[in-house]
Amino acid sequence: MLFNSVPFLLFFPVVIFLYFLIPFKYRWLWLLAASYFFYGSWKVEYLSLIVISTAVDYTVAMQLVKKKSKTTRRLLLITSLATNLGILFFFKYFNFFVADTAFVQDLYLHHSNVRAMVDLFTYALPVGISFYTFQTMSYTIDVYQGKAEPEKHFGKFALFVSFFPQLVAGPIERYTHLQPQLLGNHKFTYENLANGLRLVLFGFFVKMCIADNLSTYVDMVYANPAEYGRWSIVTAWVFFSFQIYADFHGYTSIAQGVALIMGIKLMDNFRTPYLAATISEFWHRWHISLSTWFRDYVFIPLGGSRVNFLRWCINIMVVFIVSGAWHGANYTYMIWGGIHGVLYIIERLGARVIKLPKEGFSFWRILGIAKTFVIVNIAWVYFRADGLRNAQDIFKAFSQDLTDKSLSVDPVVIGLLIFFILLDGILFNKRFDTWVGDKPLTVRWGIYALLLFAITAMAGSVNHPFIYFQF
């Protein structure tokens, strides 16, 4: 069930309405049922994986507080990590590491059982698996480290794992932030309703009018880069930058909006990332829940910044390459992560000489923003490309500029993109609901009218699934 679909537009009001109608002590159960229904609407079989992950982590966390032996506690943690990462590996990376080998290919051709297994792991990637496995792993790690008390109620823990607004594409929430809210006795307030709907409206606009419209042009160029001239290639690069931002930001806004109506505040995942002046700042503004997850559970356990320079560089590269791999089993994702890692290190070295202002729009900061945008754009080529060959073809088409065929972009799409860029710049560090809520009534409703008209009349005619659903 995609957010931008008729079933979801019917589903979420019903869930919210009944959430406030049902007695408080049963609300968790209602939300759990709704969340499982939501997830099961993709494929009922997927529920078995989330139940396994839930059951293992629930049991591990309950045992972690009972067992005192360091070895036993460590083994329990390893069990949780191995289960979650094992599920992730089989469904996401099996094809990459195993199925492409000559040995397995030979078995594939001659044994139907092997064929069925490989096809299952190749085509049946459960939606959201990277998100909820990371969310539950953060829970068991926090319990292990004593930062959180385990949830004793299995059903309520299952709700933490499966809460539907953020289940399939984040934000990746921390247990101590989300669970008290899930179990809190929230009252229906006009303010939550208004702010929630503002976020939902903004999310639909950004996803349907920006991401879906831009994707048509991006797909055309990436499918046949040799047919396009240099400026069309550059256009596709820029379009993809905003497509992926709008797609993911739109999803997060809708998730936040739906949760907020119920009184639950999900964390922000984006803060105008393309106004970052450095790669480091970019990662404080882009997919914040993932970058903070990697910081807390990979970078810091590796030693963080409290190590010598060489070790620090290694830690940085590990974090960025692994976070690239998190997105998918393809060398292109790792290269994408690697580019960010290398530039992060270079900028940190450069920061010893040049210190960019962290705010404002001075000349140097604007230069930094432009530089970061260009670098991020180039790195996105690897993220978007179907493989290394496709990425090479894109760069080749750019450098050789063999044709003068240009992309014919609908002026409406350009207008929408300019509007979005301006709006995003104006929002800078503010969320849409709080920003628009401060405006006078006529201005507010003027903005609602613009967004609503755009959603109903100008949305992309090809409804692409959210990009991050594939992760």
Binding site: S5, Y190, L452, I455, T456, A457, A459, G460, S461
Partner: protein
């Protein structure tokens, strides 16, 4: 709070009504040109013509090498009724599922009194019903529906139509080919499904290898025609609905059962396939004649050599085939326009 929310809901509803007018005045025509280019034709013809032909590529294909007459079938029909105002709506790969919403858009007081709709037998088969083209056609269909234009546009962008993936459609097709049983054939016939029939050896050479070209074409004919039409067929439901809508609007439906290459089906596969084709023909002719439509049986009127695609199963005819089909439909239309019938000048030249 309820009052506060209620007022805002009403304001949003009024906004949406207003937006519909704005959309219709600004972006709608562009969207129609992109997604639903046939609808403007309906608006033009609904109060200007009496006879309307709905067809696909069978109507306008011709043999560019041999044909001197390249007129569309519909134009060849209309040549017999020069005083009757008539028009054609056609585009490649259409079928009754697309004609239906267009016909429904004709207002109750339309000047259209007769519609001629192509009854293409292949559109009833699994390959067409589960065709990869269906998603695009269902998307266009959204814009044809008789609802507020903005609602159609919004629902289209939400993929609120049958938008299965290519893989899902292929799987459905294979499922039909694997499990739909051919019960009309005698028990002694060994192949009960398309899958089995295609797997059967055909055109085996003396050395044991196959004439792959002929075999491939033969299998193609099996996939195209080895199916049994019944009331549960989606196309049957579409045509049933077309008849019902026509009755409601006072329009006479005329179904042009297109010619298929029965001759090649016979030579490549044999009696069994021809038997199925004729039984399907009988089903369609009987059903829709009983329902009050005029059904013109053109199934076997075109000779095998006159099909422009000799290595594929299409309804694309050379000039003789088109003239023959058009003549038959024109003669059938005498039941409605008997006083207006004239011999066609083009036919006279050809004769």
């Amino acid at each position: 709070m309820v009052k506060k929310i209620g007022i805002r809901v009403i304001v949003v509803a009024l906004m949406l009504v207003g937006f519909n007018y704005i959309y219709k005045a600004t972006l709608w025509q562009k969207d129609l040109a992109t997604h639903a280019h046939l609808l403007p034709d309906i608006f033009v013809y609904q109060d200007s013509v009496e006879m309307l032909y709905f067809g696909e590529s069978s109507n306008f294909s011709y043999n560019p090498v041999t044909d001197s007459i390249t007129d569309r079938i519909s134009d060849l029909i209309y040549a017999h009724y020069p005083t009757v105002k008539a028009a054609t709506i056609n585009s490649s790969a259409l079928h009754a599922g697309t004609y239906l919403p267009l016909i429904k858009r004709l207002p109750d007081n339309t000047t259209v009194k007769t519609i001629i709709v192509t009854l293409n037998m292949r559109t009833f088969n699994a390959a067409t019903i589960h065709s990869r083209l269906e998603t695009a056609m269902m998307k266009s269909r959204m814009m044809y529906l008789n609802r507020p234009e903005l609602l159609n546009r919004f629902l289209m962008s939400l993929n609120y139509y049958d938008n299965k993936t290519e893989q899902e459609r292929d799987d459905d097709m294979w499922e039909d080919w694997t499990y739909d049983t051919l019960t009309w054939l005698p028990d002694t016939f060994p192949y009960r499904t398309i899958k089995d029939w295609c797997a059967a050896p055909k055109f085996v050479k003396p050395d044991g290898s196959y004439d792959t070209e002929k075999r491939s074409l033969a299998d193609h004919y099996v996939k195209a025609y080895a199916f049994q039409i019944d009331e549960n067929n989606p196309r049957v439901r579409d045509f049933d609905e077309i008849v019902r809508v026509c009755r409601q609007k006072g329009i006479k439906p005329v179904f042009n059962l297109l010619a298929e290459n029965v001759e090649y089906a016979d030579s490549l596969i044999g009696d069994e396939l021809v038997y199925i084709m004729r039984k399907n023909r009988d089903f369609l002719v009987n059903r829709y004649t009983k329902m009050g439509a005029i059904v013109v049986d053109n199934l076997e009127v075109v000779e095998g050599w006159d099909y422009t695609d000799q290595n594929w199963t299409t309804e694309h005819y050379g000039q003789i085939g088109r003239l023959t089909i058009a003549h038959n439909v024109a003669v059938a239309l005498k039941a409605v326009y008997g006083d207006y019938y004239q011999e066609s000048a083009i036919e006279m030249v050809v004769k």
